[in-house]
């Protein structure tokens, strides 16, 4: 089952995929382009993993670590499918990151990796933008580079875990204006989905709605206002975003 949250006709609806179209919870059928897409669920704690693909680590000239590099993000940064992501006027290097997002379904504390996938509710696609100009070496990657408004897209669909038999064998791909710029497979993660759940739950309780963005493979390039960026993951769908010049907009989920 693929589920979404959309705005249509002035109200927020649940929705599901129906033969390439979108079935609203009212029963009505709609075209994808007629809807405003929200993140497909309301996240609680948002985890992001840095440097989790061997090829991307080489690309950034870092040594892989014995422990995953994990940081947290706030709800200000979330947006849905077809969102507009602002690019700061003074930035020289802003890039997308196509990532498998893992959504936790029930409380998990000190869970072994053998059981870890039993705690997963489903999967979605994340496009987790970074503005490298603002990186500093304190709690790197710092929030000024990685937690900007409307710079973490989730969606379009939350796909039930039962429909993703092996999350560690999914192809990922990003196109910018139709040209393929990033290609990889989740098989190349340094810390896989089960290992990340084991690692986090060893020292903190994960809860329903927590989401782990599992990192991105090599192939990140600069994007500019007007660019259309599509991040795709096999079996999960295609998540589209449009880069716009930053203006004075705010972004608070639910407000």
């Amino acid at each position: 089952m693929k589920r979404a949250r959309v705005a249509w006709g002035g109200a927020i609806h649940g929705a599901s995929e129906d033969h390439g179209r979108v079935r609203l919870d009212t029963g009505a059928l709609a075209d994808e382009s007629a809807l405003v897409w929200l993140p497909p669920f309301e996240p609680r704690t948002i985890f992001a993993v840095g440097l989790n693909y061997a090829d991307h680590v080489r690309e950034l000239a870092f040594k892989p670590s014995a422990e995953p590099l994990i940081f947290l993000k706030g709800p200000n940064t979330l947006a849905g499918h077809r969102a507009f992501t602002p690019r700061p006027m003074d930035a020289k290097f802003m890039h997308y990151e196509c990532e498998l997002a893992v959504v936790i379904g029930r409380p998990a504390y000190q869970v072994s990796r053998v059981q870890a996938l039993d705690y997963v509710a489903g999967y979605t696609i994340a496009n987790d933008y970074a503005v490298r100009d603002y990186l500093e070496n304190y709690y790197r990657p710092n929030l000024r580079a990685k937690n900007r408004d409307a710079a973490t897209l989730l969606g379009p669909w939350l796909v039930d875990a039962a429909d993703v038999p092996d999350p560690m064998r999914l192809a990922l791909r990003t196109t910018v204006n139709g040209t393929v710029t990033q290609q990889g497979t989740t098989a190349d993660m340094i810390f896989g989905v089960a290992a990340l759940i084991e690692y986090l739950s060893a020292f903190m309780t994960l809860g329903p709605g927590d989401v782990i963005l599992t990192g991105t493979p090599e192939g990140v390039v600069n994007v500019n206002p007007g660019d259309e960026v599509v991040t795709e993951i096999e079996g999960l769908g295609r998540l589209t975003s449009l880069i716009v010049a930053e203006v004075g907009a705010s972004s608070c989920a639910g407000q």
Binding site: R44, G74, L143, Q255
Partner: protein
């Protein structure tokens, strides 16, 4: 109603929706729905609901403690913009609830700080108008396991369950004239262990709000912790830790050893 009473937002244990209580700060007594309460005896829920952002290295003494290291690897330069981190929901506990010392560790580091609670979304606000976006203030104990590096996010030290006591109440902004002149004290088992003041902030509250909201929106209900002073004390299992902020209140939590292999309270 007595002269000097303050109306504060309080959530008693089992009642997550905050209620207005009348507080006499000097005596530590409250009135709530006709009942008389003693603040020190209360067990509370957390009086906030948004995202809790911590600020690193915003006390002069804390940055000075790094010394010349800020110019060397891995930092290479002093911080430019505010350095933030997040204390997620599993870390939140109210006044009176227990801080759990993880198995295999001797002590926690106590992190007294002022929490600025956002009342209206703040995007690119000026320092001059920043306080208009503030609903009020809360006392916070930003607990961590000891760590010395600021290079990578320290979630395994900062994000343990119960490592962010907040409370007892939310004090509306109108009761505090100047958030940049508040005394901060830590008591462990009633012995004074640390004294500082928000006058030591590198970015005072208004400037911090302006500089954070320059790169991300602070949403209604979010809490921005202003930073931790230098010389943080440590507490062990069996200790009772109190963080006091002048004009705001006293947040008290006991430290208990975690029982190995036992599941904690359910995550909510």
């Amino acid at each position: 109603m007595f002269l000097g009473m303050k109306s504060v937002w309080l959530s008693l244990h089992g009642k997550p929706t905050p209620q207005l209580a009348q507080l006499d700060l000097a005596s530590g007594r409250l009135q709530l729905a006709g009942a008389e309460l003693v603040a020190a005896d209360l067990c509370c829920e957390v009086p906030v609901s948004g995202t809790v952002y911590g600020t690193a290295l915003n006390f002069r003494g804390a940055l000075a403690a790094l010394g010349e290291a800020v110019h060397a690897a891995p930092y290479l330069a002093p911080p430019r913009a505010p350095i933030l981190y997040i204390k997620p929901r599993n870390t939140w506990i109210g006044h009176g609830a227990s801080i759990r010392l993880p198995a295999g560790h001797d002590s926690i580091v106590v992190g007294p700080t002022l929490g600025v609670v956002i009342g209206a979304a703040a995007t690119r606000v000026s320092a001059a108008s920043a306080l208009e976006h503030v609903a009020g203030y809360v006392v916070v104990n930003d607990v961590a396991l000891a760590h010395s590096s600021y290079y990578r996010p320290a979630i395994s030290q900062q994000c343990r369950d119960s490592f962010c006591p907040l409370g007892p109440w939310l004090m509306p902004r109108a009761y505090l004239d100047d958030p940049d002149a508040l005394g901060i004290r830590v008591y462990i088992n009633d012995a004074l262990q640390l004294q500082s003041s928000t006058s030591q902030l590198i970015r005072p509250v208004r400037q911090l709000l302006a500089d954070v909201s320059a790169f991300m929106t602070l949403c209604q209900g979010d809490v921005l912790l202003v930073g931790l002073p230098e010389g943080l004390p440590q507490a062990r299992a069996g200790d009772v830790v109190t963080v006091e902020i002048e004009g705001l209140g006293r947040l008290t939590n006991p430290v208990v050893a975690e029982t190995p292999g036992r599941a904690p309270r359910s995550a909510t």
